[in-house]
Amino acid sequence: MASNELELLGQADQARVLDAVRRGATRRDLLGMLGAGGMAAATAGGIFGAAKEAVAQTPRRGGRIRVSGTSTSTADTLDPAKQSLSTDYARCNMFYDGLTTFDGSLTPRPALAESWQQEGAKVWTFKLRRGVTFHDGKPLTAEDVVFSLNRHKDPATASRARSLAMPMTEIVATAPDEVRITLDSPNADLPVVLATFHFHIIKAGTTDFSTAIGTGAFTCREFQPGVRSIAQRNPNYWQAGKGHLDEVEFIGIPDEQARVNALLSGDVQLIAGVDPRSVRRITQAQGHGVFETKSGYYTNLVMRLDMSPASNTDFVLAMKFMFDREQMRTAILRNYGVVGNDQPIDPTNRFFFPGLPQRPFDLDRARFHFQRSGVGSTSLPVVCSPAAPNSVDMAQVMQQTGARIGMNLEVRRVPSDGYWSNHWFKHPIGFGAINPRPSADILLTLFFKSDAAWNESAWRNPQFDQLLSAARAETDEAKRRQMYADMQVMIHNESGIGIPVFQSMLDGHVSRLRGLSPIPVGNLMGFDFAKHVWLEG
């Protein structure tokens, strides 16, 4: 919110300046105030501008909005353990909090847990925030946390996060406001795991999820699966300055065109999931805007290293040099994305390695490697599908570039129906699409570890596996960063995965709706928009 000039000041001064401007201080008043502290007039002037902007950005309380997600069905849920779609995340985030929460770089921040300590990344102690109450008035205690976490291990809960909860071998309350979690093996990312939405904290003993009794910024006034949820501001919310709207109605409109129409006709004020093709329609309509979240979402080329032709290293390199990444970014994503570098950690992630040189679009080198591979003019089918967003367009771009170096790619388009079970990494050359994951560890473990079920390109590297386990146990941030950098280099050089671009996530909103800032877990501020946004007067 505060711009760079404001950050020049200390926190106390910032508050003083903002307060003065809010009370109507003029530029001259402020110059006097800061000049007394010995600050140059030019800088002080800049601060005045920034402070004015920040005050204009001060949240206003009140108002009601209707928000549409991308799906709705009778399977909608308020049970944190059963959340499975983005709409479930958005709904549950209004009513519940976790022990930790994500910031814009996916670093875990304190939420219901005020602080935490660890021994060897294996034994973790979380100190709970005091004075937090559930919507029915009951104070939050360690017992609630133990219950909320333990229930995921019970098969009867049918938790989608069971595999993440199983390594927590012991979860005990060591004091009324303290919980100790012991893991079966070290994991420095436990606070990240606990920030994922399935680990929202509910009241001990809760079995009925027809309504939501959490600690969240909103209370649940109405919940009709497949129809709508209505959230009402929680006047006793523990986090000062969050939760501004009086009411949020959350619905789902699966069809993108219908969603955009609903926004433009004034039926809803915020929609998740806008296609880059609809952006112009929204921005050209007066009073509407598009909110971009740069994320780790990618559609990737999968070249099976255990099948011909990708078993040939030169062929894989030829394909990677042949990506016209910039064209894909501008023409296919309409600039809503960033160029990728054939490794899955995107620039918003705290472990992204900027030192890895960008692989260029270089037809000469592609031609060189392609000729060395000896594949020749055999027709090579590339399997693509609308199920992997933009893969059809990407395949067509590649087919054209391939023709320029004598490569004969054949675009084989298959229906989205059944794509993930029948086609995904079952062909020598095909496409996958990977949603952002909350941590580098989870992403790499799921898709790049040698024995991973979804090791798409069948890339095997024991050294990588070792590094992956070591990084998970490492608590020194700098050392971890180095390890993840090494892993990114390995994937970039050796794996059969080509990642030409990372795609942004787009949401549409009325311009009056303020306070949106990206949290790259997903759309709608990482599904956590409700407590942050407000309506301008």
């Binding site: 129809v227 219908a258 129409n261 609903a262 006709s265 079970s421 079920a453």
Partner: protein, 314 residues
Amino acid sequence: MLSLVAARLALGLVSLLLVSLAIFAITSLLPGDAAEELLGQYATRETVAGLRASLGLDLPAHLRYLAWLKGLATGDFGRSLASNMPVAQLIGSRLPNSLMLAAATAAVSVPIALTIGITAAMYRGSAYDRTVSMLTLSVVSVPEFLVATAAVIVFAVQLRWLSALSTTADITSVAQFFRVFALPVFALCCVIVAQMVRMTRAAIIDQLRAPYVEMAVLKGVGPLRVVLHHALPNAIGPIANAVALSLSYLLGGVIIVETIFNYPGVAKLMVDGVAQRDLPVVQACAMLFCAAYLVLVTTADIIAILSNPRLRHP
């Protein structure tokens, strides 16, 4: 006459059975099953096998079909594989919406269509008749998604008179009912009115050419009386059939309109069911549509029989 009606009903039941078999066979041909669709990108060999066993999908197809048929005979539609809710409850929550939309559309479209059709037949060959012909032809050839989308863009997005969404939860007054239903009803009317108009016009003209009408005219009967009293009763059979065919479309065929207006009807439930390989839901919806179709067509048949003295008094 009773035996005629009974034979129609028996035929209907046989068709239902054949339809259920066809649906079952066709959905079995689709690649993948509910277990794979539910797990989507997350499917591994073990999880698929586990889920398949728990859903009962590991049994041979003919056993699954017979079990389902047995359930149906006792009024049990089974449970949805995707959401584990009883299919009857799923359909029960959507059917009233579909019926409401169908009823509203029928209430608007049938009187309009009959009036236009009859007047066009009365003044056949006139400028009015030619205009009606041209308009109905052009309206029927425009796909409904175009009509619906254009209507949303004009009336909801540009003019902001009406709502782009049709959420039945919002209805608390007549004005809101109008606001919610105006656009989908308009889009659907465009599709079905034209067909009914043309059929009505053709049926009546056919009768007006008959000798008995000529006789009536020669005896000095006025044109309105000729049409309403003499021609229309004899044209009711084909008109009822045209109306029934158009209305049957309103229940199962409105998926595009349901999608564009985000209207929670049965057609969308069925399409979602197909995407998720949720066989119990697909089967139940298909049976429902088939049954509704049969009811409408049989009703039209009975009306035709009743309106025909030769069949009424054999």
